[in-house]
Amino acid sequence: MSLVVQTLADGLVLGGIYALAAVGFSLIFGVLHVINLSHGILVLIGAYLALVTSQALGVDPLLTIPAVMAVLFGAGYAYQRLLIQRAVDRSPLGSMLLTFGVALMLQNIMIWVFSPDMKSITPSYAFASFSVAGITFDAVRVSALAASLVLLLCLALLLKFSPLGRVIRATAQQTLAAQLCGVNVKHVYALTFAVSAAFAGAAGIVIGVILPFSPADEALWTMNAFVVVVLGGVGSPAGALLGGLLLGIVNTLTAQYVGPSFPNVTMFLLLVLLLLVRPNGLLGNAFSASR
């Protein structure tokens, strides 16, 4: 019994982090209708930046989050304005392949700079753990989960209450109508991209704290984001959270009860089945474009 509860608890912790890693992907898809296959790379850039800065300055990796987010915000804005904007209005396959090309190039650059080996960020409290009612929690994982929940909440508030959030939501609902009301759509697209790049970077730091990472992982994080978004629905932090938690639980349950090499199988089966049965996601807004 306690094994089941422990597995579920591990799944929830992992799921919170999946949610943070996917929320930017979801936002870009919801607003720009671009499938950003370089999302995983943005996540990894965050992880490597945190690795470098926390080693150089000797600070806790989670404290580098604001700085890394600022850097990726700028990079994301430029990336969208310079490259993606040129492909946004073409076929969806075109923009998808464009981001894939960028992902390949950046992955290659990462291999040159950081070597293809596994790296990990080890904070001072790496091996501490505590237990509540017989269930063990690692201090690292819990702090990572807390960080990702706080960030998700911030994003939700930003989208709901700030002027920027209102403009982003308006553009997502009706691009043309937003444009008629005086919204500079290109600017909003770029800001949306910048926000989601920043959150991808933050997710990278959180991931780097709990898991080892290497340049080849980018595809995994992109696919994870895709599955989370298909599960939860597009464009909202709540959908990403639901999808992330579900994916986390499914992954740990299969690893525990079917076999450690099977989470990928169940993840992709889940992806294919959900696309077929419920393309709107469980919370059911967008993705109607899949039919």
Partner: protein, 323 residues
């Protein structure tokens, strides 16, 4: 410009015969590059029957290479006493059959998805096949399968497989041409242009899409069987390759998406660029492919053939007012 209908297949066969002289004149390294070129061209055309003609760009066709290769290998090892020629025929039949069954089973649900969703779902199918193949002991994916040598003792295996690929590629090309000029092919093109309108006008879109999917999958599987024999020993990782999944799209994009000869041109060009020009710079391959992809999407979405067509149109526009 009007062409007689027999010209295209004659051109294909003539080009294949010229290429068949390759091993007599080329040094061994270029025969190997040629092998890869012809194999890639065959795959690119098989992919394009669905991806180019009907506009359903699959991101998971390596699934059929893998399923074909493993099905053939598992059966061939039960009948290893047969003569090599019979064994290859058996392997091709089993591999093609397995791909036909798999693709027919997957086709109905997955072809309901459109655009990028179809692409990603196919990637999912490919990964599920690969993981199952790798983790279920019966399929021997992680341990690997040996294939009996096929080439006659008097012949260099590299030359032998070059000709085998060439024959297979020519057949795939002729099949693609037959489809291209048939009513079925016109139906596929109409699906690419506007599926809903095509359906409204009475094109049996569902049936056509499924048929194109199965044909494409079987041809890919047959090439996969030959590929497995050329390698001699395969594991899951050597046939279910994500770079194959990607390259199949890049071939068509580079040559000209949705054309008959575009995929062949794209495959020849890309293999030549990566193997010969960048052959020494292995660290650079990912970057070069990525850069090419970016430049193609931004600069020449119609590929090589699109650029050529653009020149022609512009030249005609330039000469027209003078008349």
């Amino acid at each position: 410009m009007k062409r007689s209908p027999a010209l295209v297949p004659l051109l294909i066969v003539a080009a294949a015969l010229v290429l068949a002289l390759g091993p007599f004149v080329l040094p061994p390294f270029y025969v190997r590059v040629g092998q890869l070129m012809v194999y890639s061209a065959g795959l690119a055309v098989a992919w394009a029957i669905l991806g180019g003609f009907a506009g359903y760009a699959s991101f998971g066709h390596a699934a059929f290479i893998g399923v074909g290769a493993f099905a053939a290998g598992l059966v061939e090892n039960q009948f290893s006493a047969l003569a090599p020629g019979l064994l290859l025929a058996l392997g091709l039949a089993v591999g093609g059959g397995a791909c036909a069954v798999l693709s027919a089973a997957v086709a109905y649900p997955i072809l309901r998805l459109r655009g990028t969703f179809f692409s990603i779902a196919m990637l999912g199918v490919c990964h599920v096949c690969a993981e199952v193949n790798n983790n279920v002991d019966f399929f021997q994916g992680s341990m690997g399968i040996n294939f009996p040598p096929l080439a006659p003792a008097s012949m260099d295996p590299a030359d032998f497989f070059f000709w085998l690929y060439l024959a297979a590629g020519t057949i795939v090309m002729l099949i693609a041409w037959l489809i291209w000029r048939s009513r079925f092919g016109a139906g596929l093109l109409s699906i690419r242009e506007d599926e809903d309108t095509a359906r409204m006008l009475g094109v049996p879109t569902e049936r056509y899409k499924r048929l194109a999917f199965v044909i494409s999958a079987v041809l890919t599987g047959l090439l996969g069987v030959i590929y497995a024999h050329a390698l001699g020993y395969i594991t899951t990782d050597s046939v279910y390759r994500d770079d194959t999944n990607l390259n199949l799209i890049v071939f068509s994009l580079l040559g000209g998406m949705g054309t008959l000869f575009g995929p062949v041109i794209g495959a020849f060009l890309l293999v030549f660029i990566t193997q010969v020009i960048l052959g020494r710079l292995l660290d650079f391959h990912l970057f070069a492919t990525g850069l090419l992809l970016v430049l193609l999407v931004l600069g020449a979405p119609g590929g090589v053939l699109g650029v050529v067509r653009g020149w022609r149109v512009r030249r005609r526009a330039a000469t027209a007012p003078a008349e």
